[in-house]
């Protein structure tokens, strides 16, 4: 079964969920992405992305117990599905393929 195509933010979120494991919920994913990419994504943008990944079957979610610090709301925890894991491997393979043949001496210097 072919893996659905994903965009760069979707891939970054998918990787963050995979990295965070049991602690993967919206706020943690947002902080992880912010620390790694230096970009300040809005909370709404993160949840839209996670929702899209869930719609594509790459993630699944479940609600935690309500928490006082969230005003009595649950955290929505995300988990990478098998399809999601395949999508990560496919993305890694494609990335490696793209870098293949580009020697270290030909790579542009960081700005």
């Amino acid at each position: 079964m072919p893996t659905p195509s994903i965009g760069s933010l979707e891939l970054a979120a998918l990787l963050a969920v995979a990295r965070l494991g049991n602690e993967a919920y919206g706020l943690a994913v947002r902080q992880d992405l912010s620390e790694r990419s230096g970009k300040d994504h809005s909370v709404g943008a993160i949840y839209t992305t996670l929702q899209r990944l869930e719609d594509k079957g790459l993630l699944t979610s479940h609600a935690s117990e309500p928490l006082p610090v969230r005003g009595g709301r649950s955290r929505r925890h995300f988990t990478v599905t098998g399809t999601g894991a395949r999508a990560i491997r496919e993305a890694e393979r494609q990335s490696a393929s793209m870098w293949d043949g580009v020697g270290a001496h030909r790579r542009p210097e960081p700005a």
């Binding site: 919206g26 709404g44 949840y47 979610s61 006082p68 610090v69 005003g71 009595g72 709301r73 929505r76």
Partner: protein, 417 residues
């Protein structure tokens, strides 16, 4: 899949949430919850916002955390709206439509309030700031003056008219700057075009330079008198009278006299002045208003401006006491040909000019008690140069020795002797 909202929030946590929300900008939370409806998406976003806010309160303080909360909630609003529009069904889309319409209305109102001023359709000369007559703007100065216009929209509301542009069109060549500064070097009329957007008006500038204003030095009244016309004339650089005037014409103290339609009306005893200022010409007329008294006997200290009637038969003499201090003393004749009595001062008093010089206005200083003024009929003994066949006064008017000498004596006391 998404868990329904109501099964995820317990009543105890609701209470905690209400307390927590009270200082967490509930209006923005209400907005997001209104848009999101009962979808879990909005609650997930709000939960993250609240959790992060709680961390920031400890780290940065409540004020900073609240600002962050509002900012992030507003950033997330489009995502919640988009999610609701996609998954919220008809009611969800209706809620989004309501919010979008409300925001569009608020934005329109804000744009109109800030800078979306309606287009001007009419320009008028600003009568408050420009000397405007029915047939044009009168300019009496040879120095630069500023034209001022008022702009109105189609509904008649006044608009900002600071950007009106001006341009000389025809007539007397005068200097007209685009910002409305006009310089009238010569007498004559000029047409000037004023424009603001699509609104255009033609203004007639009536250049009437005034170099000098001549006016009577004094006007004297008794309280209760009727008004008198103010006599003055404005002259142009060639010495010719100018009959179109716009400038300053006012009474300094309207509790003493008023000025209306070019006439001065006395109000109460005292001294004031009428100031006239047109172009480069300026003049002042002193106005005195006297209180009518039967004589100077018993004048009070507060009766600084008083006038008393004088009627002298041949050989009659009147002697009135004078108060201490500085004052003007003047005899008012009923006509320029009427004689004045012989006026003499007695006691500790000095006057200028001397009273024996037969003048009718004296400035006097009384330095002690016991000073008085003595008025005597001038014909106690006929002057030697007058024949008995045809008698004439020194002014050339007819004189009859048996007649009374009539008039009035006024006093104007200085406030600070």
């Amino acid at each position: 899949m998404m868990t329904p909202l109501n099964t995820r929030v317990s009543p105890a946590f609701r209470r905690y949430a209400d307390i927590n929300r009270a200082d967490a900008q509930p209006w923005i939370e209400r907005l997001l919850r209104f848009i999101g409806g009962d979808l879990a998406f909005a609650e997930d976003v709000l939960g993250d916002l609240m959790e992060e806010r709680a961390r920031r309160v400890e780290r940065d303080g409540a004020r900073s955390a609240n600002w962050w909360y509002v900012y992030e909630a507003l950033r997330s609003t489009p995502h919640v709206a988009w999610h609701t529009a996609k998954r919220g069904g008809t009611r969800g889309r209706a809620r989004v439509a309501i919010v979008v319409a409300g925001m569009a209305t608020a934005l329109t109102i804000a744009v109109v309030a800030i800078g979306g001023e309606p287009a001007p359709v009419r320009l008028e000369v600003d009568g408050q700031r420009t000397a405007h007559a029915a047939d044009g703007v009168i300019v009496n100065s040879r120095h630069p003056v500023v034209l001022a216009m008022r702009a109105f929209d189609a509904t008649g509301h006044a608009l900002n008219a600071t950007d009106v542009q001006y341009q000389w069109m025809s007539g007397t060549p005068i200097s007209v700057a685009t910002n409305g500064v006009v310089t009238c070097s010569h007498p004559g009329d000029a047409l000037v075009r004023a424009s603001l957007g699509q609104a255009i008006a033609t203004v007639r500038i009536k250049c009437r330079p005034v170099r000098q204003v001549l006016a009577n030095m004094w006007m004297q009244f008794t309280a209760g008198d009727s008004s008198q016309e103010l006599n003055f004339v404005a002259l142009d650089p060639d010495g010719l009278p100018v009959n179109r005037l716009a400038g300053v014409l006012r009474v300094r103290d309207s509790s003493i006299a008023t000025l209306k339609n070019g006439r001065v009306k006395p109000i109460s005893p005292g001294r004031t002045a009428v100031v006239m200022h047109f172009g480069e010409g300026e003049a002042t007329t002193q106005v005195s208003v006297y209180e009518r008294v039967p004589s100077f006997i018993g004048l009070r200290a507060d009766q600084r401006f008083a006038i008393a009637p004088v009627r002298l038969a041949p050989a009659d003499t009147i002697r009135w006491p004078l108060p201490q201090g500085l004052f003007w003393l003047q005899f008012h004749r009923p006509s320029r040909y009427a004689d004045i009595p012989t006026i003499a001062m007695e006691g500790p008093i000095m006057c200028t000019p001397n009273a024996d010089q037969s003048v009718d206005r004296l400035y006097c200083l009384v330095r002690g008690s016991g000073a008085s003024v003595r008025m005597t009929h001038p014909s106690t003994s006929p002057p030697p140069e007058v024949s008995c066949v045809e008698c004439r006064s020194r002014h050339g008017g007819p004189i009859h020795w048996a007649q009374y000498v009539e008039g009035a004596l006024s006093i104007e006391r200085e406030k600070y002797p």
